[in-house]
């Protein structure tokens, strides 16, 4: 393994100012970027929120989830359903339902007309589902690779389910053509920038909240259960609730990220939430640094930036490049880019 310590020693003084530097850049962005680039940055930041949750469960909890796309999708579809329903004249149903031969709105779509219900659904549905699912697995003391495989299967099943129910989910094409959210026209002046600020604010809230959580005794016990589950158990703690709560929080963050991404991208579809996107989410974090909140956000931004640059020119090349990057990081930088900065990261 090559010695990267010289590099990391040089970068060391930068470490404490890095989050502040990123925040300053984030605040400056709307004044410096074109509307197109700002929209792109906002999408990547939404993915950064997903990455924060993966640091919590994978880095600090040792729980590898290859199914975060499911929770991302739940958040994304919740906001998309709201936008589809809220814009409808009374009594009408979304056009894709008409084309599939439906005559009325499914009952479970109707509450999404309410903004409050939608926001609660974005926060609570992924969290509750994540809690139930992870409890069912962890309390049977299944973990490690098996857990990763189960989450992978869950992502596949979820995407398949959405595709197969074309009449109520929009199927393979997903949901798109949104005009307004919570009463604001999406193309009205100031609204895209406002949504950018909301995204930046939620990213900061997630970052600060998780920093606090990881520094608390909860974070300590999560790491303890990662490194010595039996020792923790035979000190009198039940490790399961710590892992379940962490997983639920990560699911909630993925849901929030998915909802914001859908707002910025103007579309949610199975292609954004299935097996491959779920693995990509883990790759961002591996590259940025699985133990570091700031590293993971940077990883999400950089990888998606690179993806955008490469895949527009050479669409087939991207997966190979990402694979190569992943192998490079795993073999040479197990702590990701954040590992270049000495110390342990946030």
């Amino acid at each position: 393994m090559p010695d990267l310590s010289i590099l990391s020693a040089r970068l060391d003084p930068v470490k404490p100012v890095l989050p502040w530097l990123l925040l300053a850049l984030g605040i400056a962005a709307p004044f410096a970027l074109s509307a197109y680039d700002l929209n792109l940055l906002a999408r990547f930041m939404a993915m950064g929120i997903v990455a924060l949750g993966i640091v919590l469960i994978w880095g600090h909890g040792g729980i590898l989830s290859l199914g975060q796309g499911v929770f991302f999708g739940l958040g994304g579809y919740a906001i998309a359903m709201h936008m589809k329903v809220a814009d409808l004249p009374a009594g009408e149903i979304p056009d894709f339902m008409l084309w599939s031969g439906r005559e009325s709105l499914p009952l479970w779509w109707t509450p999404f007309a309410s903004p409050i219900f939608t926001i609660l659904a974005i926060l609570l549905v992924p969290a509750l589902l994540g809690a139930l699912f992870s409890w069912a697995v962890f309390h049977r003391r299944v973990g490690g690779t098996y857990f990763a495989l189960i989450t992978q299967a869950m992502a596949l099943a979820f995407a398949t389910l959405i595709i197969s129910r074309q009449d109520v989910t929009g199927g393979f094409n997903g949901l798109t053509d949104f005009y307004s959210v919570f009463g604001f026209g999406l193309s009205s002046p100031g609204v895209p920038t406002g949504l950018y600020w909301v995204t930046l604010a939620l990213l900061c809230v997630g970052f600060i909240g998780l920093r606090w959580l990881l520094a608390s005794r909860f974070g300590m016990l999560l790491r303890a259960a990662r490194d010595g589950e039996n020792r923790v158990r035979f000190l009198g703690y039940s490790p399961t609730p710590f892992k379940v709560v962490a997983f639920a929080i990560a699911a909630m963050l993925a849901g929030v990220g998915g909802a914001l991404f859908t707002l910025h991208a103007g579309v949610v579809s199975p292609a954004l939430i299935g097996v491959v996107p779920s693995i990509e989410m883990v790759v961002w974090v591996a590259i940025g640094g699985r133990y570091s909140l700031a590293g993971a956000v940077v990883g999400a931004l950089l990888v998606n930036l690179a993806r955008d640059a490469v895949s527009s020119a050479f669409p087939e090349l991207w997966l190979y490049l990402m694979g190569a990057l992943f192998i490079f990081v795993v073999t040479l930088l197990p702590r990701g880019l954040a590992g270049l900065f000495k110390g342990k990261g946030a």
């Binding site: 959580l213 608390s216 005794r217 790491r223 303890a224 010595g228 158990r233 035979f234």
Partner: protein, 252 residues
């Protein structure tokens, strides 16, 4: 021993069988410990010593027999409740939490309220802080309190884990090969540490380092193939031909 009042009885392992699909790691094994007693369990590899510890702390569940602790049958309780009753075990391979500091390892052990929803703070009650400081002092790791436990030397890890077990405040300590991997000087210090507990705790030690066992000056129970073989002082056990045949014969 037979004359002691039943109120002194702390632990009774009663006819326990652990069956690993045909292989009986414990085969109708019984053992009793009185409050404040120190006991050593020896036996050749595979005699069932570690399985005995596993059974008491609820890691494996007996198909026959019971485990009575302070008059309560604990053999079906969840692990964390068994710990809460006052039993803690040191594992054979050091089981410290490597990425936490030495002090944090002890703080988690000393914590009284172990429910997850009480874990969102950082503060440590004065009483627990004192228990941590005492435990650090007892194993002479005070000067190492801030380092990551994973960076400790092997012997220090063993002591830290003993300190963790002590810091839980458990009445019954199960020490599974506490001197594994230690040199003679470290082994003697470990024996002193255990002796210094006096009768404040009940201690069950598993080991096969005979010089260490001698230093502990405690009654010895010999196990063989999951069954009770002999009990007596170390001298009696050493002199016993049956014990020599199954166990000491290898080293004598």
């Amino acid at each position: 021993m037979s004359g002691s009042a039943t109120s002194d009885l702390l632990l009774s392992v009663d006819g326990v069988t652990i069956d690993y699909s045909g292989f009986k790691a414990l085969d109708g094994f019984s053992l009793t410990l009185n409050r404040g007693e120190r006991r050593v369990v020896i036996g050749p590899n595979g005699a069932g010593k570690s399985t005995l510890c596993d059974t008491i702390i609820g890691r494996v569940r007996p198909s026959e027999g019971r485990v009575i602790f302070k008059g309560e049958d604990i053999h079906r309780l969840p692990e964390q409740q068994i710990v809460a009753r006052g039993i803690c075990r040191k594992f054979q391979a050091p089981g410290v939490l490597p990425t936490l500091s030495v002090r944090d390892n002890l703080a988690l052990a000393a914590r009284k309220d172990r429910r997850w929803w009480k874990s969102f703070g950082t503060g440590i009650p004065a009483e627990e802080k004192q228990a941590v400081d005492e435990a650090l002092d007892m194993v002479a790791l005070t000067h190492r309190a801030g380092v990551e436990a994973g960076t400790l030397a092997h012997g220090e890890k063993q002591w830290l884990e003993i300190a963790m077990v002590l810091a839980t405040g458990a009445e019954l300590l199960l020490l599974d090969e506490p001197t594994a991997g230690m040199g003679p000087a470290e082994t003697s210090r470990t024996a002193e540490l255990i002796l210094s507990l006096g009768d404040s705790r009940t201690v069950l030690v598993i080991d096969h380092d005979m010089s260490f066992v001698e230093q502990l000056a405690a009654p010895v129970t010999v196990m063989h193939q999951g069954r009770f073989l002999k009990q007596g002082s170390i001298a009696e056990v050493r002199a016993d031909p049956e014990v020599a045949a199954v166990y000491l014969g290898h080293t004598a």
